[in-house]
Every structure is written in structure tokens, then in C-alpha cells.
Amino acid sequence: MRYKKCEICGKRAEQNKMVIVENTLYCIECFEKEFEEKELLNGKKVIRELDPTVCSNCNHDNGGEELPKLSIYPICLECKKVIDKQVFPDWVKAFIAGTIAIIIIGFIWNLRFFKAYEHIHTANTNYVNGNYENASRLMSLAVIEVPEVEDIKAMAGFFKGIDLLVKDSCTEALFLFEKYKQAIPADVNLKSFIIQARAGSFFDKKNYKGFLDASNQYLALDSTQAQSWAGVASAYSCLYAETKNEEYKTQTYTCLAKAMSLDSTSKQMKEYMNLIEYRIYSKQIIRREQFKKQFPTGWSKI
């Protein structure tokens, strides 16, 4: 315990029983005498002295040695332990640790959903940008992460189908479209892809009447595209090559003229028309890749 000298009466008093008013140290007797009327303290800075060797909680006297502090209050080790336990008990520590553990487990446990989400997101971007191979690959990775979600499986099948369709594997594409058509969202316009795949599949099977039929269905969906008219022209040209019926030749040129009126400049269209003209001239039905290989700079009658 420490003692200090009162600046008013000069007596030694316990430090804990002293008060500082505006930088003057009072013992408790002098303080009570001087400020009997409480109003006298108004606007004055009053601080209670704290003996750093006496616990402010249990009054334990630590002799000459200073105690550790809780904020400004000297606290003995026993009291500090009790307060710490009360302020942050073990069960709360366990609760907070448990909550943090649950957050970590939550992220690890559901990691596959984050991965699947990321794959789906990138797959969709690739699809929109026309990179169907990547779109299909990424959507299949999403299926591996969340195999229980049927919609994702259907979208992976659809993307694979589109990839096959642009690679002219129409029969396989048609199989996938038919398999998943119930689960594919309405806004992807599956019907037109199915018709395209059907047309290609008929072509592969040399069923040119079926090819014409499917091409006409596609034209009925959208007659504003050169591609639609060129498809019908292609079907007529195949029938002409097969049957040598002049009527089909006339129909081919009618549809070609229509296609040309809509688009006579794009590279893709020019190549396609060139192929049809070659077919009419040679009465040979060859695939597009084969034609490109045979006539890398295009075909002309000479």
C-alpha cells in the first residue's frame, strides 16, 4: 500500500483514499470539508487516486509491488483470472471457434458448387462467343462437379450437340438434342437446331427428300436469312444430282437467287453457293470439307 501527503493539511493518507481536484491532492477529510456543497465541484476536473499496489476489485494489498492493470485499474492476478473467465468464458471461446470452423467447413464442403458455377459461367461466355468446343468441355466439367443436377447435364448435352452440329456430325448432334430436349430451357431455340441437325443427318444418310423437307422447315422458321434459302437450294441440288430431274435444277437456281438477294458478299455464303453450283454442274455430291480440299481457291467452270 502507498501513502501520499495531502496538499491541504499535510497529513499522510492512503493513496486510494485521496482525490485530485484541479491538480491539487486532497485527503478524503479535506475533500469532504472543502467541497461540502457539491456545487463547488461544478466544472472542476476531479480524479480519484488509484494505488497501483492495491487491487481495485478485492482490495488485496500487494505491499510495495505494483499490480498489472485492467485499463487504469490495478488488478491482482486472482481477480484478473476471474474477470477474464467471466468476460470471455470457455464456452464462448468454443462457440466462436465453432462458428469459424463452420465457415471454413461450409466453404470446403460446398467447393464443388463454386467450381461448377465457375465452369457454367465460363461455358456460357464461350457459347455466346461461338466457341462451342470450349463451352461443351466446360459444361461437362460442371456435370462432374454436380452430377445430381439434371438441368446442367442437359445443358452439357446441348452444348455438345451444338459443337457436333458445327462439325457436321449431325446424326450424333440430333441424338443429343432429342435426348435432352425436355430439360433444355425454352429460350435457347432448340427447335431450329433440331431441324438443322435433322437436315444434316438426312444428308449424311443420302436421304435427299428428307434433307429438302427439313431445309424447308428451317426456311419456314426464318426466311430472312440467306442461309435458310441456301439450305433449300442445296437440298434441290442434291436431288438434281441424284435424279437429273431438270425441275430440281430450276428450283435450285430460284432459291439461290433468293439467297443471293439477301447476302451475296459474305465469304461463307460465297463458298456455299460455289459448292452448289459445282454440284449442279458435276452432278457429284461431296461434303463441304472435301470440296474445300479439292478446290482450295474455289471452283469455276473454266
Partner: protein, 174 residues
Amino acid sequence: MFIPGKIIAIFTFPGIIVHEFAHMIFCKIRKVAVFEVCYFQFDNPQGFVKHERTDNFTTTFLISMGPFLVNTLLCLLICIPAYLPVKFFEIDHLFSYFLVWLGVSIGMHAIPSDEDATNIFEQAKVSVKHFNILAIVSFPIIGLIYLFNALRMIWADLFYGIIIGLGIPSLLFG
């Protein structure tokens, strides 16, 4: 529908514990002595932290607003992993629903109580005379806290928990 506070407290007890923990942890950070804490009880208030008085407005503000930061953050962190399976992939899984319950329970107790707001208000009145910017900014915040607590009658706390726990992830993941 009126459900007594005690019943809500029982179903959302993790939120109350985290709320008091947030007050306590900000006392520790700002080196303010804590004398007594109740993390959960059935009586009103359902929890409290008794700490040393401080004249530092920033300290009072942080201690009182602590739960807003801590509960909101935890609500978000707990609910984000559950959002994708529950809402995006629509997979029913008990653990996901447990996470949503825990997250929303914690989020529901994010808003400081009227007592917390009063603590800020009393000191803001003094600090604003010294042109303390934070004190000036705190007045509308205090108003919002009182308003929010009045709206607890019509489940404002539950809506807040749902907005943080499910609304924000839906913005992140669409």
C-alpha cells in the same frame, strides 16, 4: 404475427452471443476495461456488456456499432457457401439449411440495440460541439437504428438477415 422476443431469442441464440462478443471484442481492441458480460439469457436484455466509461467518441462508436460489422460479416460468410446449392442448383441438403439458419440468426442481431444507440447519442451530443466528423455522421445512423428497432415488430430484423444472407449472394451469383 406476434411472437414473443423470448421465443425469437431461443431460435436465434447464436446471433445474440455473436452480438455481445462483438461489443466485447471492440472493447478489447480499444483497450476499454470490461467488467461483466452476459452472452445470453432469457430475460431482457438477452445479453449485455458492462464496460468502463470512455470519453473517446470513436471508441464508444466502435463498441456500439461492433455487432453491425461482426454479425453482418459472419452472416454473409456463413450464407455464401449455402447459397449456390440451395438457390442456384436447388439441391436440398440439411447442412446447407443449417448454414442458412445460423447465418440469418446471426444477421438478425446485427443492428445495435436502442441502448447501444443511446450510448452513442449521449456522447455524440458532447463530441459534436468539438466538430467531431464521426459524431456528426452518427446522428442519422442513430435515427436509423431507433427506426429499425421500432420496425422489429414487423420482422425488420429477419428481413435484414435475409437480405444480407441471401440477397447479397444472389447479387454475386445471379
